[in-house]
Symmetry: C2
Subunit: 317 residues, 2 copies
């Protein structure tokens, strides 16, 4: 299987420049260890790193194919990212979402001009493939795609540029596109740095899979238990192959740790993180014993927290 290379990520960096925000690394001066930098991908257009991959994937299409339009299936941030990227390229987008997706994300997707089609959970991928064939649209998958992985990897390239002596990179893992891309960039540019994947324990399929050295399949109903609605997917064959190469270890975090990390991010880092966006910070805060010491970047992957849930979490602790 052919893996994404640092050259692919460098090419992606040129495509996303000026569209994705060059997010700064934020040293957290309140942290007693003094070794935590945040990469706030929550500040991207659409509020998540996903805009990097979407832009790269649509930009990599030939003009004729691109102009016919794109289609995506997603429970959230990927939907918005594809809608936004398509709008920027001036091409039509259809987004198929499960009907349990957070309302805030569905509405935002529509606001970017996409046609949104809601289907029962579990059917959205099939429906998207069916519509792609029917209407001649190009499917932009959420993670199982080399251009998506390369696009997400541009966040890793920026980490390496801004903190060349980084020692630990903490990155959330779900479908694995982000961790594959960021890990590939870090291993190429900062080969001594450790790349640590982070999952909710309730959706810890990749931790188990990497420990066993093979893909495992957790029932959807099990993965759906976590509050981190962006981390309920599991790697594809392609992303799993990358993760085996570039992830040094996995850490799993509890639901309470995710909530506490959201509070810390709001109060100390002044960032609104969605639950999925807080897991890397939760690993730093609550699993120091499982992590190498040293200059650490925690990637805050997204900020689209449901307003009511966010208010409840802030009020609770």
């Amino acid at each position: 299987m052919e893996l994404v290379t640092i050259s692919d990520i460098e090419a992606a960096a040129k495509r996303v420049q000026g569209v994705a925000v060059r997010t700064p690394l934020l040293l957290q001066t309140w942290d007693p260890r003094g070794t935590l930098w945040l990469k706030p991908e929550s500040l991207q257009p659409v509020g998540a790193f996903k805009v990097r991959g979407a832009f790269n994937a649509i930009g990599a299409l030939d003009e004729e194919r691109r102009s016919r339009g794109v289609i995506a299936y997603s429970s959230g941030n990927h939907a918005q990212a594809v809608a936004y990227a398509a709008q920027q390229y001036g091409v039509p987008a259809v987004i198929v979402v499960p009907d349990v997706a957070p309302r805030i994300k569905v509405e935002a997707t529509r606001a970017y001009g996409a046609e949104v089609i809601e289907v029962p959970i579990g059917e959205h991928e099939g429906k998207a493939r069916e519509l792609a064939a029917e209407r001649g649209l190009t499917l932009v998958p959420p993670y199982d795609d080399a251009a998506i992985i390369a696009g997400q990897g541009t966040a890793g390239l920026e980490i390496a540029e801004d903190l060349p002596d980084v020692e630990v990179v903490l990155v959330p893992v779900s479908g694995g596109g982000l961790a594959s891309g960021v890990g590939t960039a870090i291993k190429a540019r900062c080969p001594r740095a450790k790349v640590i994947g982070v999952e909710p324990a309730l959706a810890g399929d990749t931790a188990e899979g990497l420990r066993l050295g093979r893909q495992v399949d957790w029932p959807q109903a099990d993965r759906a238990r976590t509050i981190a609605d962006g981390l309920r997917a599991q790697p594809s064959e392609l992303t799993f192959a990358h993760l085996k190469q570039v992830v040094d270890a996995m850490v799993t975090v509890s639901e309470d740790e995710i909530r506490e990390a959201m509070r810390t991010l709001a109060r100390k880092a002044r960032l609104v993180a969605e639950p999925s966006g807080a897991v890397a910070t939760a690993a730093y805060l609550f699993h120091a014993g499982e992590l190498p010491a040293g200059r650490t970047v925690a990637l805050v992957s997204g900020g689209n927290a449901d307003p009511a849930l966010f208010a409840e979490i802030l009020a609770a602790g």
Copy 2:
């Protein structure tokens, strides 16, 4: 009276480089007008733009004087900024705070290694001057100082670099150091852009003063009514002279508008803003009729919201 120049601000930019975060401009893609960029100074160390001025002021002292230490009086973010900057320079800091200051800010100031002295409100400036004389410390004023104004102006320099065709810059006004510095930078680099100062209506002394063409004095008790605890000061002779030169107009916002802007910043921009940090965004959202149209930067000056207040505001709307 000698005003701060663009050269002073350029010199300050060299001093703060690598210490203050080079905050990005964040285009707000959810905004139907499509003309809003945020400058998130809430992401600075200590959570506010104040670190720029403090660093520049302490950095501009000669080594002998600096080594004896610094002292500041402040109700909040300036305190933390001076404490943090002094810690970075390795010199002692004493901070005199009014005993009504938000606890989160007092605790954060102590965490940066400063000696914190709490006195009744209204006495903190006098006490600081007394201690400065007694202990041979250099007073770092919150705004009435050319080095502070030049330091804050570096935020304006960055706006001009990142969006050279900016048309409107919205900046909070309290003591006026930020607006003086940012306005000076913008007028030098983007002379066609309008610089608009924003105040809470309940502390609208500068709006009144600039309308009358002379400094006015509002009773402390009146200014204390606003939720925006960072905007209760009023300009000095020095900052007022700058504001007359570089501020094209003033806008005042209501308390409800400030709260609504905090909710919008959290939900749409994924930023935690303190009330003072939200006034420029409130002006954009609710006072479009008083503002020139066009590419607008709203400066989010700080993010140190009291956690309970922030949770209450998020839950309320």
